[in-house]
Symmetry: C2
Subunit: 253 residues, 2 copies
């Protein structure tokens, strides 16, 4: 495998009873997934676990070992249910320490907001040896330790942290994708899709049905790191759909 | 542990490259989570894996063994990337067979829609011994084998399948929850929350910060299977917030 073919992978561990109760709809999975694609890193697996030291640690150790990067979201705030730092430190066999720069950031942030209480100081706790990830939205920084990145649960705070990390992680060729939308039952073009994928070894084709306005259709997503082969597969699919008499929408429906 | 204290758990395995690419925002996690709560079953973990036989099988075998129920979403359609049935059958060591009733349902459904092609017949394939889950939205049924439930990827089709399953799964006491919203930095009430949780052994309190209209606040969610203790914790929290001079909104913000 040449260096350019090396596939970089990441996993995401979502920590939060609020996702598992159905109360909160996760927005971090799609935002981190999209951001990783641009970095040339594939999100290969996601796990959502309860706010439990053992559950977090068990998942973390599997995910960090078999991926280049492991992100977590949630549980790094000031309240009693924020236990991500403790869980990660325990999983890594590291003590939890106060990070001096994090403490300074929080002192500054809370200087005009009631001061740095004990609860707020919790947000300066990190596994020993960790670096900080800047948070431009609110005081408390994210945390990097080895290949693990602890991000916030609140999506727009995590968005700011991702911005700060942009371009800093090594990745491979970005996975490109093109989408063709079509008002067709996917079962009618299943053979066509299979044949086009078979003829384009560097492409994967996904078929994602939907129902809108009482009608059924599907988006066909072709993914590849190879620009030419991607374009060839797109052209073949468009020709095939046109020949079979279907209207289609480049870019997707 | 008395029978009424028995906690029933479920896991969800989301199968889909489209979620991991960030292209599609999952809606099945919250809908299945909420439905399970009403059945008295806790969603304890979620995994999202790629459309890969080994990845699906590995996750399935862990999840089904350590939970009472295991749901999957996605990959039961007619196209080449729909491999959930094959993955589940392989993980269970079962052959894949055509389910006669599923074939009959599909024949009827497609009678006026171009007939039952080979691709469409794929949707009648099940692991041997499986039962069907009615699908009132489109032809292809869901599949139940042992404690595993294979649901559709399209959320409103899965919604119909969940309706069909309502009341058929054994569960425990439903987990009740009450939410109090407050325009307060959660760090200001972290001690109060910790103390209230400590004083109410049958309750868990979650704190979920948000930013809206340029202001920060948090929703405090108290969960319990015990109605009286839940109410006591809610009352204590409301009293505490009022005494500290915060406005709060029962039901959440």
């Amino acid at each position: 495998m040449s260096q350019s073919d090396r596939i970089w992978t990441a996993a995401l561990l979502v920590i939060g009873d609020e996702i598992l109760s159905g109360r909160t709809h996760d927005k971090n999975i799609p935002q981190i997934a999209s951001w990783l694609q641009v970095q040339g890193i594939r999100l290969r697996e996601v796990r959502v676990v309860t706010d439990d030291l053992t559950a977090i640690g068990e998942a973390l150790n599997v995910l960090r070992e078999r991926n280049d990067y492991c992100f977590t979201t949630g549980g790094i705030g000031p309240t009693h249910d924020d236990i991500t730092v403790d869980a990660v430190a325990r999983a890594l066999g590291l003590p939890v320490v106060i990070h001096p720069e994090a403490k300074q950031i929080l002192e500054q942030y809370y200087a005009t907001r009631g001061g740095l209480t004990d609860a707020r100081l919790r947000m300066a706790r990190v596994p020993e040896g960790a670096a900080l990830i800047p948070n431009r939205m609110s005081g408390a920084p994210g945390i990097r330790i080895g290949n693990i990145f602890l991000m916030a649960g609140v999506p727009h705070i995590t968005a700011g942290m991702l911005d700060a990390l942009t371009g800093t992680l090594e990745g491979g060729a970005p996975l490109l994708s093109e989408t063709i939308g079509c008002w067709v039952a996917e079962s009618e073009v299943a053979d066509m899709l299979r044949e086009i994928e078979a003829a384009h070894g560097k492409c994967q084709i996904g078929s994602y049905p939907f129902f809108q306005e009482g009608k059924g259709g599907a988006n066909f997503v072709i993914r590849s790191t190879d620009t030419e082969e991607l374009q060839s597969a797109v052209d073949t699919l468009c020709d095939g759909l046109a020949t079979a008499g279907y209207d289609f929408t480049p870019g997707g429906i």
